[in-house]
C-alpha cells in the first residue's frame, strides 16, 4: 500500500531535528508542520521574510500583512522575526537554513531537480525554489513516484528544465525513501507498507542502490 500525502509528510517530518530552522515548500511539504515529533522544536522560515511561522489564523486574527510564501494568511509566534526579502534570501543562500522540504516534478539519479517549468505550458515562475535548493544545507523532496501515465518521475536524467543540479539529498515518494550521501547514488532505504523492492525497481527509471536490510 503506497504512502498517502500525509504518510509522506509524516515520514519527512522524521528528518527534523531539535533546534532546526526549516523551510517548507508549497503543497505536501506544508503538511509536514502537522507531524513535527514531540520534543522536537523547529522554527519555520517563510522566504517572503519571516522566521518563526505560526499556524493559520482564527477568523478574527486574519491579517493582510501576515502571509506565507504561498500567500496564505498565517500567524506569528513569540519567537517570530520579520525581515526583508534580501535578508531572507541572504539567510537561505548563506546556508543558514538547516533543511528545506520541497515538491518536485522530476528528480534525477544525480540529484538534479525539476520543479518549476513545463515547456509549452504557461510558466508561472520559479519563485524562491532555485535559491532554496542552491542554498539550504539539506534538501528533501517529496513527490509521487510516477505520473498519471504510470511513468517514473525518478529519472536517469531530468527531461524538464532544472531547478538545480545535484541538489537533492533525500527523496520521499509514495513508494519509499531514497537517501543520498553527498553526490553519490541514491539508496532505497525504506519501503511503504507492502511495497516490494522489485515494484520500486520496476517503477524507477533512475539507477538506484538498495539498502542491505531490504535486499
Amino acid at each position: 500500500m503506497p504512502w498517502t500525502r500525509d504518510d509522506m509528510a509524516e515520514r519527512a517530518a522524521k528528518e527534523l531535528k531539535d533546534g532546526f530552522y526549516v523551510n517548507l515548500g508549497i503543497g505536501i511539504p506544508t503538511l509536514v508542520a502537522n507531524y513535527i515529533p514531540d520534543g522536537i522544536d523547529v522554527t519555520l522560515q517563510s522566504e517572503n521574510g519571516m522566521l518563526g511561522m505560526g499556524p493559520f489564523p482564527y477568523e478574527d486574527e486574519v491579517d493582510a500583512d501576515l502571509i506565507n510564501a504561498g500567500k496564505q494568511t498565517i500567524t506569528e509566534l513569540n519567537r517570530t522575526s520579520y525581515f526583508s526579502s534580501a535578508d531572507s534570501f541572504a539567510m537561505i543562500r548563506g546556508g543558514h537554513i538547516d533543511l528545506s522540504i520541497l515538491g518536485a516534478m522530476e528528480v534525477a539519479e544525480n540529484g538534479d531537480l525539476a520543479n518549476w517549468m513545463i515547456p509549452g505550458k504557461m510558466v508561472k515562475g520559479m519563485g524562491g525554489a532555485m535559491d532554496l535548493v542552491a542554498g539550504v544545507k539539506r534538501v528533501v523532496v517529496i513527490m509521487d513516484h510516477t505520473n498519471k501515465a504510470g511513468e517514473s518521475k525518478f529519472k536517469q536524467a531530468c527531461t524538464l528544465p532544472l531547478t538545480g543540479t545535484d541538489v537533492v539529498d533525500m527523496l520521499i515518494t509514495d513508494l519509499g525513501v531514497f537517501e543520498r550521501n553527498g553526490s553519490g547514488a541514491f539508496m532505497l532505504t525504506e519501503l511503504a507498507p507492502d511495497v516490494t523492492v522489485d515494484e520500486v525497481k520496476a517503477k524507477t527509471e533512475a539507477a538506484i542502490e538498495v539498502g542491505n536490510h531490504l535486499s
Binding site: N48, K71, S84, F89, G128, L162, G164
Partner: protein, 235 residues
C-alpha cells in the same frame, strides 16, 4: 525640505515618461503600493518595464496596469496568479524576465548599494545561467548577476515620519526596503505619517535619505489572496 504630498497623483507628478523602468514593492498582494499603482494607471504612461516579484491579480495591484496594457515587460519571480498576464504573455504582447526570487531581491539590493555585479550559486546549471558569466570560487561554480536600478521606485510602508523614515509591518516588508534604495526617485505611501521623533531610531527600516516623496494613502483595501484560517475548537 517637505517630502509630503497631497495625494498619489501629486506625488508622482512630473516623474513619468514612456518606456521608463519602475520598481513596485510587495509580495503577492501583501505590501503593495496600492494608491501609487492607481495613480500610475491613471497617468496613462506606457511601455513600462516593471520590476516586481509578482504581477498582482487580474483586477488588483499590477494587474490593473496589465489590463490597460501599460506594461511592456515584467521582471518577476512568479506570476502564477494573473490570467491577464498569461493571456498577454502567450500572445507575445508582454515580455517577461524571470529571476529566482532571491536573485531578484539581491539584484535590487545591489543596485541600491552601488554593486554592479555579484556571484551566486542560485541557478547554476539551469536556464537562468545561460549567457551569464561563470566563475569558480573554492572549487564551486557560481554565476554573475547584475545590480538592478529603476527610474522610479514605488514602495508601501506602514508608518513614516515627516523626514521620510519608514517602518514596515510584518511580512508586508518584503521587497519594499531594497526597492526604496534602488530607485533614482523613490515615492513611498504609508498608512500613517507621524511627527519627527515618534519612530524609534533603532527600528527604522528605511532611512529617510531613500525617500524623496511621501503620501498617506487615501484608502487601503489590502486584499488577501489566500484567506486560510483554522477553526476554534469548542471549549
Amino acid at each position: 525640505m517637505n517630502k509630503i504630498y497631497r495625494d498619489a497623483a501629486a506625488a508622482l507628478d512630473g516623474l513619468f515618461f514612456d518606456g521608463m523602468t519602475i520598481m513596485a514593492g510587495g509580495f503577492g498582494l501583501c505590501g503593495i503600493p496600492e494608491n501609487l499603482i492607481g495613480a500610475l494607471r491613471d497617468s496613462g504612461v506606457r511601455d513600462l518595464t516593471v520590476i516586481s516579484n509578482n504581477a498582482g491579480v487580474d483586477d488588483f495591484g499590477l494587474g490593473l496596469l496589465l489590463q490597460t496594457r501599460q506594461i511592456k515587460k515584467m521582471v518577476s519571480s512568479y506570476v502564477g496568479e494573473n490570467k491577464t498576464f498569461e493571456r498577454q504573455y502567450l500572445n507575445n504582447e508582454l515580455e517577461l524576465e524571470f529571476n529566482p526570487q532571491g536573485t531578484l531581491a539581491e539584484r535590487i539590493r545591489a543596485g541600491g548599494a552601488g554593486i554592479p555585479g555579484f556571484y551566486t550559486k542560485t541557478g547554476v546549471g539551469t536556464l537562468i545561467a545561460e549567457g551569464k558569466e561563470h566563475k569558480d570560487f573554492s572549487g564551486e561554480t557560481y554565476i554573475m548577476e547584475t545590480g538592478l536600478k529603476a527610474d522610479l521606485s514605488l514602495v508601501k510602508a506602514w508608518k513614516a515620519d515627516t523626514e521620510g523614515n519608514l517602518i514596515y509591518r510584518k511580512t508586508a516588508r518584503n521587497f519594499n526596503p531594497m526597492m526604496a534604495t534602488a530607485g533614482k526617485v523613490t515615492v513611498a505611501e504609508v498608512e500613517e505619517i507621524v511627527e519627527k521623533g515618534a519612530l524609534d531610531p533603532d527600528c527604522i527600516h528605511t532611512p529617510g535619505i531613500f525617500v524623496q516623496r511621501l503620501i498617506k494613502g487615501a484608502v487601503y483595501e489590502k486584499r488577501i489572496e489566500q484567506r486560510t484560517t483554522r477553526k476554534k475548537e469548542a471549549v
